[in-house]
Amino acid sequence: MAGLCELLPGFLCKFPAFSDASIRGARKVIDDGFKSLVRSYVNIIDAMVQPLQWFLNYLERLFVSSPWPIILIAMLAIVYFGSRNIKITIGTAASMCAIGLLGLWNDTMVTLAMVTVCTLIAVIVGIPIGILMARSDRVQAFVNPILDVMQTMPSFVYLIPVVMIFGIGKVPGLIAVVIYAVPPMIRLTNLGIRLVDKEVLEAADAFGSSGWQKLRNVQMPLALPTIMAGINQTIMMSLAMVVVASMVGVGGLGKNVLQAINNQFFTVGFLNGFALVAIAIIFDRTSQAYGKRLQKHSEVIHG
């Protein structure tokens, strides 16, 4: 096949690319433009993300500086009253004790604070967008490709503009995590509302429900199992992403993992990795059990 190229004109053998110089020029223009844009709005951007910074710092301090028994008891209480399952509660107690004994308590608290804030933001942002998508096919057609890009774009790539805009620190990490974790929240809210039984919606209409009443009384409650699955996915993806976000200055377990990679600390890497797994399993089992409990009406069948 190589011989074929000698017979053909050059542009059929080597893909005719733009010249290096013109690409370099364009790249420079875009990069410089973006940089100057960021520079001129830096104050506004800082002011906008300031509340996030405060909230994150507050929660982190609360988690880290509270005596560990209080945190542990609070956590077990949340797990128990969320899941009403003693096995999950005991599992949580055991894994948190193991984390403490291995000296990872503080790092775990930092990660926990981060994941909590990320999940809250993802839910607050994701559910309204999901509702809008469910109400309008046009919004859905517009948002879906954006979500596709968010989910498939390698996370390292969008860390670049995030760092350019927000600098290094917790907040850019937070934003990167939210971008990564919010698509399932949006998609599953949209899906859940769209799957609500048409007959029940018709009944709500026939009784004269307003749009808001229909959303509150029928669509959201019936979409709740799917929305809960979305929250669950969002938590899992946040936990996965905090490791990557440690590259831009997020502390906690992720930072330890990053250091372990750089220094080939096999044991440290795996211990921190397992700590992340433990938190993930606790979150997952608790939120799933809670979601299931919300559906108690569908379990008792006439018979």
Binding site: E199, V200, A203, D205, A206, G208, N217, L222, S298, I301
Partner: protein
């Protein structure tokens, strides 16, 4: 509360993106099949004119695809018509603003659905208060009213059950209680009993008839079952391919079917339970003979009474007890059997 009649006038519904463009063509005789083949639009309803009696039960009957469910959805405008009007108390429902329509649905109509359409995450009580909740009635008041209706439909003690803990018949009782709690003048029942098994269906028909005796609502009842239509309907309209083939009382339809289609329908009907004695009585000649039978008695009951009394002759009396006609057992029996002309026509 005074019930009002519902007038449906020149109602057309053509499903499809440009339904309005074909109304004139349909008025000029474009058929359902042709409309579908040539233009890709579906003819749902064609020139419907029905006046539904105030405080009575109007039954709309037809087989699946005849447009009956489409028709009932025009009364509370769950479906917008392509042309025509639906008048209630002088107001055209089809021209109401969104707000007026919502108020109309909240206060004037209530609907019962074939597949119940209950909210699965709410208990029986919470489902039943739904209409009042939407209207903004205070919780204590709406629960008090809902409990009365739950008891009336025979579900007392089940207030805190979830719908899927109940059988189909019980779920539809919840649907009925939910509609009645709304205290609306118009009760729309879209094949409300079609999903129930026969015994429970008869049971629920009795519930409706008993309630209607005192409530006197304007009920629109959709069914594909002629026996149900004859039992419930003060007036019956039969739909076929989106058109009204015949409308009138049950007796009129059974005794004078408009065409072969309806003849085939009424062939299997138990006439003894539909036809009244005054319909077949002969004029009085001389003194009234035999036992008295009240006007409005169906033939089967008359025959049973006469057989029990061992009489072959009787006379029909009106509400005041005055004799108005004569009747014989043989005349009753010959009217109860399906006429051979109908058999031949249907075959």
């Amino acid at each position: 509360m005074v019930s009002h009649a519902i007038e449906v006038r020149n109602l057309y519904k053509i499903f499809g993106p440009r339904g309005g463009d074909y109304v004139d063509a349909v008025k000029n005789g474009l058929g359902k099949a042709e409309l579908n083949q040539k233009y890709g639009h579906v003819l749902g309803l064609r020139d419907i004119n029905i006046s539904m009696p105030a405080g009575g039960i109007m039954v709309v009957m037809g087989l699946s695809g005849s447009g009956k469910s489409t028709l009932i959805r025009h009364i509370n405008r769950l479906i917008d018509p392509t042309a025509g009007e639906v008048l209630y108390d002088g107001v055209d429902v089809c021209r109401m603003s969104e707000n007026d329509l919502r108020e109309f649905r909240r206060h004037k109509t209530a609907m019962v659905f074939q597949k119940f359409a209950l909210l699965p995450h709410r208990t029986v009580l919470e489902n039943t208060v739904y209409g009042l909740e939407i209207q903004g009635v205070a919780q204590a008041e709406r629960e008090k009213r809902a409990k009365q209706w739950i008891a009336r439909v025979g579900l007392a003690g089940f207030e805190n059950h979830y719908p899927n803990q109940l059988s189909g018949g019980m779920q539809q009782r919840v649907g009925l209680a939910r509609a009645l709690t709304n205290d609306a003048d118009i009760l729309l029942m879209d094949e409300a009993y079609s999903a129930l098994d026969p015994l429970i269906r008869v049971d629920m028909q009795t519930v409706l008839l008993d309630l209607q005796k005192e409530l006197k609502k304007t009920v629109v009842f959709i069914t594909h079952d002629l026996d149900e239509a004859l039992r419930l309907g003060d007036k019956i309209a039969i739909l076929r391919d989106g058109m009204v083939v015949q409308q009138g009382t049950g007796q009129e339809i059974v005794l004078n079917p408009a065409d072969e289609y309806i003849t085939a329908f009424v062939k299997e009907v138990n006439r003894g339970r539909v036809v009244n004695v005054e319909t077949i009585m002969a004029p009085l000649s001389g003194n009234p003979e035999g036992m008295p039978i009240a006007k409005g008695t169906v033939l089967e009951m008359a025959a049973r009474a006469m057989t029990a009394a061992n009489q072959t002759l009787a006379h029909v009396v009106d509400e005041a007890g005055r004799p108005i006609g004569a009747i014989s057992l043989s005349a009753i029996i010959s009217s109860m059997v399906t006429p051979t002309s109908h058999e031949a026509k249907a075959a």
